[in-house]
Symmetry: C2
Subunit: 329 residues, 2 copies
DNA sequence: AATGATGTGTCAACCGGTTGACACTAAGGG
DNA sequence: CCCTTAGTGTCAACCGGTTGACACATCATT
């Protein structure tokens, strides 16, 4: 690995001059600039970003903590976050917490030790204290944390209402609400619980009843998930509409319906949430509530960029959701 | 951010002593050890890993370049890679290249500048030269690069044969081979082309003919992909067996079949590849060739750990694939 | 009493790059 | 001819932590 000294020697200038070229400061003639550039090229020189970061006290790295990238919602989220981070010159350190609080804490410490400039939390955030005296920007994705931590979310409440309303409008008489997440249950801090709220608030004056099941997802391909759904629907044979809080859950519901020989959407209408890729890869294609993941990711990165420049940002950044009608309703 | 100096002051010892405690070298009494630990706790001190890395010339970071995490194969891969990396104390810098060669190059440079200890390439690797004079370990995932770069792969050839054989055994008379990837076509360097080879090698003595389609996947949810498949099957109405080189493609084939009112598996048998989560989330549940992604990821990280300790490693690390029979065959 | 292991401190160099202070030269303008 | 601006160099300090050399204790052994 060549160092700045080697470049200086090869170009026949001083280290300071090379640094000046590198950082574009002070007076430098075009001739010197060229000589230095030439030397760099010949040596295939790349400045050591660690050394620069150390001096600047800025690493241009952001840490990303999520439950697991293997869930399609997070994999799409991570994709877009990385894209926009890269656009702004940030690198992404990825951490899968599996919603394990102790692992989450370890990751936070690790990220801090490694001098990330900011952290995006897409995982649970339970013990708030741990995050407050971290003197670096944190932004939270779809989770409430504390009122001094900016949050990016989408309109979960309206999402829930839209889902209910659609099922009601399509003539459903008894609804089922299926929730659950990979790697542990969803807690109240998770804003997704507002979906349930919205879902229920749409029902009172319709006289439509609803039942609810919280699934403890064990792994995407695990047949036990479907089995539990089948049992649930056997207990509630009159349920004719399902709101699943993620498309993955909705896909499992579809499987349960097939197993129970219920036709979709005739005997059972299903609506999912997120509108990730899988929604249009299952059959029938899934009606879903779309979260604008790309836009939310872009917003998250912009928030970070602003925070790092000391600008004020709004604490709550909520995006509208849209109903995507396909073939399950 | 407290520094080692502050800890020394608070504990009433010298910086050297703190460093000795931190790194467990030389003689230190238990009393001092405790005093220092206490001071660290009180100050909430975390050693600056950048500074340490700079001195040690080892960052414990590994770079990961893949086409896109949003594809389920890669999202599962990344999940496991990060898991095992973390186990061994490595952090993961994630890069989505979208199979764009210039972006790939930029990422490689970026990772080098940022002093990653090693790179895992799960993306295309086309201009070999660029990677050879990188004086850091690279390992390649399921792609051939150069004979001095270790590679982790699975037995694609056998995978192809297993798929063919199953379709033949199940009585198919005309097979279709569907390939294609997200973000650009698959090239010869991609070992997945061996799947096609294996697929074909199983056919000659059976007298079964086959046709092939390379799809240019535009995005998971894009309906045009299905339309193209529908057209293809209309051109080949007698095709009754499909080998898709990924489960995502197989899911699209299922959609095309539904659209064409072909029953699965009676009129059309389908087998996918990878056996990622989606394989058991579609209906009918997909028969697939399973790649042991977890084991492959573990191997990749172990290879890196060995390379970083200067140990010799085997250049080709191929894992067996297994046929997972479900309901599409 | 000499020896050696243990425990801690001081000091300086180093990792690779950045920056400010300052000196010096050459060229151009008024 | 003086002044300013451009262009480059030298030097040292700094980012935060690590390490080796060396000095100087203390304490237990022999």
């Amino acid at each position: 690995m060549p160092k700045i000294e080697d470049v200086a020697a090869k170009a026949g200038v001083s280290v300071t001059t090379v640094s000046r070229v590198l950082n574009n400061r002070g007076y430098i003639s075009q001739a010197t600039r060229d000589k230095v550039a030439q030397a760099m090229k010949e040596l295939n020189y790349q400045p050591n970003e660690m050394a620069r970061s150390l001096f600047r006290k800025k690493s241009n790295m952001i840490g990303l903590i999520i439950p697991t990238v293997s869930h399609p919602f997070f994999s799409e989220l991570v994709y877009h976050l990385e894209y926009y981070a890269d656009q702004k010159g940030y690198k992404v350190l990825l951490c899968n917490s599996n919603r394990d609080i102790s692992k989450e804490r370890k990751y936070i410490d690790m990220l801090k030790k490694n001098q990330v400039d900011a952290i995006v939390m897409g995982s649970n955030v339970q013990d708030v204290k741990h995050y407050l005296n971290l003197n670096l920007p944190i932004i939270s994705f779809d989770r409430t944390v504390a009122n001094n931590i900016p949050i990016v979310t989408s309109d979960n409440y309206t999402g829930g209402r839209l889902a209910s309303r659609l099922l009601v409008d399509k003539g459903c008489r008894k609804l089922a609400h299926i929730s659950g997440g990979v790697g542990g249950p969803n807690h109240a801090a998770l804003l997704a619980s507002k979906r349930f709220q919205g879902f229920r608030d749409e029902l009172p004056d319709t006289g439509i009843e609803h039942v609810s099941l919280e699934l403890e997802i064990t792994g995407l391909g695990d047949k036990r998930n479907v089995d539990e759904l089948v049992r649930f629907f056997q207990e509630h044979p009159d349920a004719d509409g399902v709101f699943a809080t993620s498309d993955v859950l909705a896909a499992l519901v579809i499987q349960a319906c097939h197993q129970l020989k219920k036709t979709i959407p005739q005997e059972m209408k299903i609506i999912g949430y997120d509108d990730v890729g899988i929604a249009s890869l299952v059959w029938p294609r899934l009606t879903s509530i779309r979260q604008p993941i790309r836009e939310m990711s872009e917003c998250a990165i912009e928030l970070i960029a602003k925070l790092l420049q000391g600008e004020e940002v709004s604490m709550i950044n909520s995006f509208p959701v849209t109903l995507i009608q396909r073939d399950t309703t």
